[in-house]
Protein backbone atom coordinates (compact mmCIF):
# COMPACT_ATOMS: atom_id res chain seq x y z
CA UNK A 1 0.00 0.00 0.00
CA UNK A 2 1.06 3.53 -0.69
CA UNK A 3 2.26 5.86 2.00
CA UNK A 4 3.37 8.60 -0.35
CA UNK A 5 1.37 11.34 -1.99
CA UNK A 6 1.60 10.88 -5.79
CA UNK A 7 -1.02 8.80 -7.58
CA UNK A 8 1.54 6.52 -9.24
CA UNK A 9 4.22 6.61 -6.59
CA UNK A 10 3.43 3.19 -5.10
CA UNK A 11 4.94 0.08 -6.70
CA UNK A 12 4.05 -3.59 -6.76
CA UNK A 13 6.13 -6.56 -7.82
CA UNK A 14 4.78 -8.12 -11.03
CA UNK A 15 6.77 -10.64 -13.13
CA UNK A 16 9.77 -9.90 -10.98
CA UNK A 17 9.70 -6.18 -11.76
CA UNK A 18 8.66 -3.21 -9.69
CA UNK A 19 5.75 -1.62 -11.55
CA UNK A 20 3.88 1.52 -10.53
CA UNK A 21 0.29 1.04 -9.33
CA UNK A 22 -2.39 3.63 -8.68
CA UNK A 23 -2.33 4.46 -5.02
CA UNK A 24 -5.69 6.19 -5.04
CA UNK A 25 -4.04 9.53 -4.40
CA UNK A 26 -5.51 12.00 -6.86
CA UNK A 27 -8.92 11.84 -8.52
CA UNK A 28 -9.01 13.62 -11.89
CA UNK A 29 -12.47 15.10 -11.24
CA UNK A 30 -12.29 15.25 -7.44
CA UNK A 31 -15.73 13.61 -7.18
CA UNK A 32 -16.69 10.11 -5.97
CA UNK A 33 -17.01 7.60 -8.83
CA UNK A 34 -20.76 7.17 -8.14
CA UNK A 35 -21.25 10.86 -8.74
CA UNK A 36 -19.27 10.80 -12.00
CA UNK A 37 -21.35 7.77 -13.05
CA UNK A 38 -24.60 9.65 -12.43
CA UNK A 39 -23.31 12.67 -14.36
CA UNK A 40 -22.46 10.47 -17.35
CA UNK A 41 -25.93 8.89 -17.18
CA UNK A 42 -27.49 12.36 -17.05
CA UNK A 43 -25.63 13.47 -20.18
CA UNK A 44 -26.81 10.39 -22.09
CA UNK A 45 -30.36 10.78 -20.76
CA UNK A 46 -30.29 14.44 -21.82
CA UNK A 47 -29.52 13.27 -25.36
CA UNK A 48 -32.48 10.83 -25.21
CA UNK A 49 -34.84 13.63 -24.16
CA UNK A 50 -33.35 15.94 -26.77
CA UNK A 51 -34.03 13.38 -29.50
CA UNK A 52 -37.69 13.24 -28.47
CA UNK A 53 -37.95 17.04 -28.22
CA UNK A 54 -36.27 17.49 -31.64
CA UNK A 55 -38.66 14.92 -33.15
CA UNK A 56 -41.55 17.04 -31.82
CA UNK A 57 -39.94 20.13 -33.34
CA UNK A 58 -39.56 18.33 -36.67
CA UNK A 59 -43.23 17.32 -36.72
CA UNK A 60 -44.49 20.70 -35.64
CA UNK A 61 -42.41 22.63 -38.17
CA UNK A 62 -43.57 20.35 -41.00
CA UNK A 63 -47.24 20.40 -40.00
CA UNK A 64 -49.48 23.01 -41.65
CA UNK A 65 -51.49 23.69 -38.47
CA UNK A 66 -50.42 22.27 -35.13
CA UNK A 67 -53.24 22.05 -32.54
CA UNK A 68 -53.28 24.62 -29.71
CA UNK A 69 -55.76 22.91 -27.41
CA UNK A 70 -54.65 24.08 -23.95
CA UNK A 71 -57.24 26.25 -22.20
CA UNK A 72 -56.23 28.66 -19.43
CA UNK A 73 -57.01 25.96 -16.83
CA UNK A 74 -54.46 23.60 -18.42
CA UNK A 75 -51.82 26.32 -18.60
CA UNK A 76 -52.40 27.21 -14.93
CA UNK A 77 -52.19 23.49 -14.07
CA UNK A 78 -48.86 23.16 -15.92
CA UNK A 79 -47.53 26.33 -14.22
CA UNK A 80 -48.44 24.93 -10.79
CA UNK A 81 -46.66 21.68 -11.78
CA UNK A 82 -43.56 23.73 -12.66
CA UNK A 83 -43.67 25.50 -9.28
CA UNK A 84 -44.08 22.15 -7.46
CA UNK A 85 -41.10 20.62 -9.27
CA UNK A 86 -38.87 23.69 -8.71
CA UNK A 87 -39.79 23.73 -5.01
CA UNK A 88 -39.09 19.99 -4.67
CA UNK A 89 -35.63 20.69 -6.09
CA UNK A 90 -35.01 23.18 -3.27
CA UNK A 91 -36.14 20.51 -0.77
CA UNK A 92 -33.63 18.18 -2.45
CA UNK A 93 -30.81 20.73 -2.00
CA UNK A 94 -31.72 20.92 1.71
CA UNK A 95 -31.74 17.09 1.93
CA UNK A 96 -28.25 16.91 0.42
CA UNK A 97 -26.98 19.59 2.81
CA UNK A 98 -28.54 17.89 5.88
CA UNK A 99 -27.04 14.54 4.87
CA UNK A 100 -23.55 16.01 4.38
CA UNK A 101 -23.80 17.54 7.88
CA UNK A 102 -24.78 14.12 9.25
CA UNK A 103 -28.32 15.21 10.20
CA UNK A 104 -30.10 11.92 9.50
CA UNK A 105 -33.69 12.82 10.42
CA UNK A 106 -33.43 16.17 8.62
CA UNK A 107 -32.14 14.52 5.45
CA UNK A 108 -34.86 11.84 5.52
CA UNK A 109 -37.53 14.49 6.08
CA UNK A 110 -36.40 16.62 3.13
CA UNK A 111 -36.05 13.52 0.92
CA UNK A 112 -39.65 12.54 1.70
CA UNK A 113 -40.75 16.15 1.03
CA UNK A 114 -38.98 16.02 -2.34
CA UNK A 115 -40.66 12.71 -3.23
CA UNK A 116 -44.02 14.19 -2.17
CA UNK A 117 -43.46 17.00 -4.67
CA UNK A 118 -42.93 14.35 -7.34
CA UNK A 119 -46.17 12.61 -6.38
CA UNK A 120 -48.15 15.88 -6.56
CA UNK A 121 -46.57 16.59 -9.96
CA UNK A 122 -47.60 13.15 -11.24
CA UNK A 123 -51.17 13.50 -9.97
CA UNK A 124 -51.59 16.91 -11.64
CA UNK A 125 -50.09 15.62 -14.87
CA UNK A 126 -52.22 12.46 -14.98
CA UNK A 127 -55.28 14.70 -14.48
CA UNK A 128 -54.20 16.67 -17.56
CA UNK A 129 -53.70 13.44 -19.54
CA UNK A 130 -57.15 12.13 -18.59
CA UNK A 131 -58.69 15.45 -19.65
CA UNK A 132 -57.08 15.23 -23.09
CA UNK A 133 -58.01 11.56 -23.50
CA UNK A 134 -61.62 12.44 -22.61
CA UNK A 135 -61.54 15.12 -25.33
CA UNK A 136 -60.63 12.39 -27.82
CA UNK A 137 -56.85 12.75 -28.14
CA UNK A 138 -55.20 9.46 -29.17
CA UNK A 139 -51.60 8.82 -30.28
CA UNK A 140 -52.53 9.01 -33.96
CA UNK A 141 -55.77 10.96 -34.00
CA UNK A 142 -57.38 13.97 -32.34
CA UNK A 143 -60.36 16.25 -32.95
CA UNK A 144 -58.25 19.23 -34.10
CA UNK A 145 -56.16 18.07 -37.06
CA UNK A 146 -52.48 17.05 -37.32
CA UNK A 147 -52.78 13.40 -36.20
CA UNK A 148 -49.26 13.17 -34.75
CA UNK A 149 -50.06 15.73 -32.03
CA UNK A 150 -51.09 12.96 -29.61
CA UNK A 151 -48.01 10.82 -30.27
CA UNK A 152 -45.68 13.80 -29.75
CA UNK A 153 -47.47 14.98 -26.61
CA UNK A 154 -47.81 11.59 -24.94
CA UNK A 155 -44.24 10.47 -25.77
CA UNK A 156 -42.61 13.64 -24.50
CA UNK A 157 -44.65 14.11 -21.34
CA UNK A 158 -44.88 10.33 -20.74
CA UNK A 159 -41.11 9.86 -20.85
CA UNK A 160 -40.80 12.70 -18.36
CA UNK A 161 -43.55 11.29 -16.13
CA UNK A 162 -41.74 7.91 -16.06
CA UNK A 163 -38.59 9.74 -14.94
CA UNK A 164 -40.50 11.52 -12.15
CA UNK A 165 -42.10 8.25 -11.01
CA UNK A 166 -38.75 6.40 -10.99
CA UNK A 167 -37.30 9.40 -9.14
CA UNK A 168 -39.95 9.18 -6.41
CA UNK A 169 -39.19 5.47 -5.84
CA UNK A 170 -35.43 6.16 -5.98
CA UNK A 171 -35.66 8.99 -3.43
CA UNK A 172 -37.76 6.89 -1.04
CA UNK A 173 -35.24 4.00 -1.26
CA UNK A 174 -32.43 6.47 -0.52
CA UNK A 175 -34.45 7.95 2.38
CA UNK A 176 -34.96 4.51 3.96
CA UNK A 177 -31.32 3.48 3.38
CA UNK A 178 -29.91 6.73 4.72
CA UNK A 179 -32.33 6.63 7.68
CA UNK A 180 -31.02 3.16 8.58
CA UNK A 181 -27.45 4.47 8.10
CA UNK A 182 -26.80 1.90 5.35
CA UNK A 183 -26.25 4.57 2.68
CA UNK A 184 -23.89 7.52 2.76
CA UNK A 185 -24.28 11.23 2.12
CA UNK A 186 -22.76 10.61 -1.33
CA UNK A 187 -25.75 8.40 -2.20
CA UNK A 188 -28.12 11.21 -1.22
CA UNK A 189 -26.14 13.69 -3.32
CA UNK A 190 -26.16 11.37 -6.35
CA UNK A 191 -29.95 10.92 -6.11
CA UNK A 192 -30.18 14.71 -5.91
CA UNK A 193 -28.36 15.07 -9.24
CA UNK A 194 -30.96 12.80 -10.86
CA UNK A 195 -33.86 14.74 -9.35
CA UNK A 196 -32.53 18.14 -10.44
CA UNK A 197 -32.07 16.76 -13.95
CA UNK A 198 -35.72 15.66 -14.09
CA UNK A 199 -36.63 19.20 -12.97
CA UNK A 200 -34.35 20.67 -15.65
CA UNK A 201 -35.97 18.66 -18.45
CA UNK A 202 -39.39 19.98 -17.44
CA UNK A 203 -38.04 23.53 -17.92
CA UNK A 204 -37.96 22.70 -21.65
CA UNK A 205 -41.11 20.58 -21.94
CA UNK A 206 -43.30 23.17 -20.16
CA UNK A 207 -42.79 26.02 -22.67
CA UNK A 208 -42.50 23.77 -25.76
CA UNK A 209 -45.55 21.60 -25.14
CA UNK A 210 -47.85 23.80 -23.08
CA UNK A 211 -47.01 27.49 -23.57
CA UNK A 212 -46.55 27.21 -27.35
CA UNK A 213 -49.89 25.37 -27.60
CA UNK A 214 -51.95 27.69 -25.40
CA UNK A 215 -55.35 28.45 -26.85
CA UNK A 216 -55.46 32.15 -27.69
CA UNK A 217 -58.51 34.14 -26.61
Amino acid sequence: MSHSSGPLSATAVHDGRDLPVWGGGALPYAVPSKKLGMWLFIVSDAITFSAVIFAYGYLRLAAPAWPRPFETASIVNATVMTFVLLSSSVAMVLAVRASSLGKVSGAVGWLVATALGGVIFDILHIREWLGLIAEGVRPFSNPWGTPMFGAAFFTMTGLHMIHVTIGVVYLLIIAVGFGRRKLSAVDVEVSGLYWHFVDLVWMFIFPLVYLLSAKMA
Binding site: Y29, G192, L193, L200, P207, A217
Partner: protein, 101 residues
Amino acid sequence: MEHAETAGNKIIFSVWFGLLGLTVLELVLAYRDLPLETMLSILMVLSVIKAAMIIAYFMHLRYERASLFVTLIPSLVFVLIMMTVIFADSSRLAHMRSLIQ
Protein backbone atom coordinates in the same frame (compact mmCIF):
# COMPACT_ATOMS: atom_id res chain seq x y z
CA MET B 1 -16.75 14.40 -0.08
CA GLU B 2 -14.94 17.63 -0.75
CA HIS B 3 -16.96 20.76 -0.28
CA ALA B 4 -14.41 23.49 -0.17
CA GLU B 5 -17.05 25.91 -1.33
CA THR B 6 -20.80 25.46 -1.60
CA ALA B 7 -23.94 27.50 -2.18
CA GLY B 8 -25.47 28.92 1.00
CA ASN B 9 -29.14 29.45 1.79
CA LYS B 10 -29.12 32.97 0.40
CA ILE B 11 -27.92 31.77 -3.02
CA ILE B 12 -30.22 28.72 -3.12
CA PHE B 13 -33.34 30.72 -2.32
CA SER B 14 -32.33 33.49 -4.74
CA VAL B 15 -31.99 30.86 -7.48
CA TRP B 16 -35.38 29.40 -6.52
CA PHE B 17 -37.11 32.81 -6.72
CA GLY B 18 -35.26 33.53 -9.96
CA LEU B 19 -36.55 30.28 -11.49
CA LEU B 20 -40.13 30.97 -10.33
CA GLY B 21 -39.86 34.53 -11.69
CA LEU B 22 -38.62 33.37 -15.10
CA THR B 23 -41.50 30.86 -15.21
CA VAL B 24 -44.02 33.67 -14.60
CA LEU B 25 -42.28 35.74 -17.31
CA GLU B 26 -42.65 32.82 -19.76
CA LEU B 27 -46.33 32.52 -18.83
CA VAL B 28 -46.96 36.22 -19.52
CA LEU B 29 -45.08 36.03 -22.84
CA ALA B 30 -47.12 32.99 -23.93
CA TYR B 31 -50.23 35.17 -24.16
CA ARG B 32 -48.54 37.93 -26.17
CA ASP B 33 -49.39 38.06 -29.85
CA LEU B 34 -45.91 37.32 -31.23
CA PRO B 35 -44.85 35.32 -34.32
CA LEU B 36 -44.20 31.66 -33.43
CA GLU B 37 -40.47 31.85 -34.29
CA THR B 38 -39.95 34.92 -32.08
CA MET B 39 -41.89 33.31 -29.23
CA LEU B 40 -39.94 30.05 -29.59
CA SER B 41 -36.60 31.88 -29.56
CA ILE B 42 -37.46 33.93 -26.46
CA LEU B 43 -38.84 30.91 -24.56
CA MET B 44 -35.82 28.74 -25.42
CA VAL B 45 -33.35 31.44 -24.30
CA LEU B 46 -35.23 31.71 -20.99
CA SER B 47 -35.28 27.89 -20.65
CA VAL B 48 -31.54 27.63 -21.27
CA ILE B 49 -30.97 30.28 -18.58
CA LYS B 50 -33.17 28.29 -16.16
CA ALA B 51 -31.35 25.05 -17.01
CA ALA B 52 -27.98 26.73 -16.46
CA MET B 53 -29.12 28.00 -13.05
CA ILE B 54 -30.24 24.49 -12.05
CA ILE B 55 -26.98 22.90 -13.27
CA ALA B 56 -24.73 25.53 -11.70
CA TYR B 57 -26.34 25.83 -8.26
CA PHE B 58 -28.73 22.92 -7.57
CA MET B 59 -26.52 20.35 -9.30
CA HIS B 60 -23.49 22.07 -7.84
CA LEU B 61 -21.45 22.05 -11.06
CA ARG B 62 -20.24 25.61 -10.48
CA TYR B 63 -18.39 24.45 -7.39
CA GLU B 64 -16.83 21.35 -8.96
CA ARG B 65 -13.45 21.15 -10.61
CA ALA B 66 -13.43 22.65 -14.13
CA SER B 67 -12.37 19.27 -15.60
CA LEU B 68 -15.83 17.85 -14.80
CA PHE B 69 -17.58 20.70 -16.63
CA VAL B 70 -15.24 20.39 -19.62
CA THR B 71 -15.88 16.65 -19.84
CA LEU B 72 -19.67 16.82 -19.60
CA ILE B 73 -21.06 20.00 -21.11
CA PRO B 74 -19.25 20.87 -24.39
CA SER B 75 -19.77 17.34 -25.79
CA LEU B 76 -23.49 17.55 -24.95
CA VAL B 77 -23.83 20.95 -26.60
CA PHE B 78 -22.01 19.63 -29.69
CA VAL B 79 -24.38 16.65 -29.98
CA LEU B 80 -27.42 18.94 -29.62
CA ILE B 81 -26.12 21.25 -32.38
CA MET B 82 -25.56 18.24 -34.65
CA MET B 83 -29.17 17.15 -34.07
CA THR B 84 -30.50 20.41 -35.55
CA VAL B 85 -29.55 19.05 -38.99
CA ILE B 86 -33.04 17.44 -39.19
CA PHE B 87 -34.83 20.80 -39.28
CA ALA B 88 -33.77 21.51 -42.87
CA ASP B 89 -35.71 18.41 -43.92
CA SER B 90 -38.64 19.44 -41.77
CA SER B 91 -39.00 22.83 -43.48
CA ARG B 92 -38.56 21.15 -46.89
CA LEU B 93 -41.50 18.91 -46.00
CA ALA B 94 -43.61 21.92 -45.02
CA HIS B 95 -42.67 23.64 -48.30
CA MET B 96 -43.55 20.59 -50.44
CA ARG B 97 -46.85 20.24 -48.63
CA SER B 98 -47.71 23.83 -49.50
CA LEU B 99 -46.99 23.10 -53.20
CA ILE B 100 -49.49 20.21 -53.26
CA GLN B 101 -52.30 22.22 -51.71
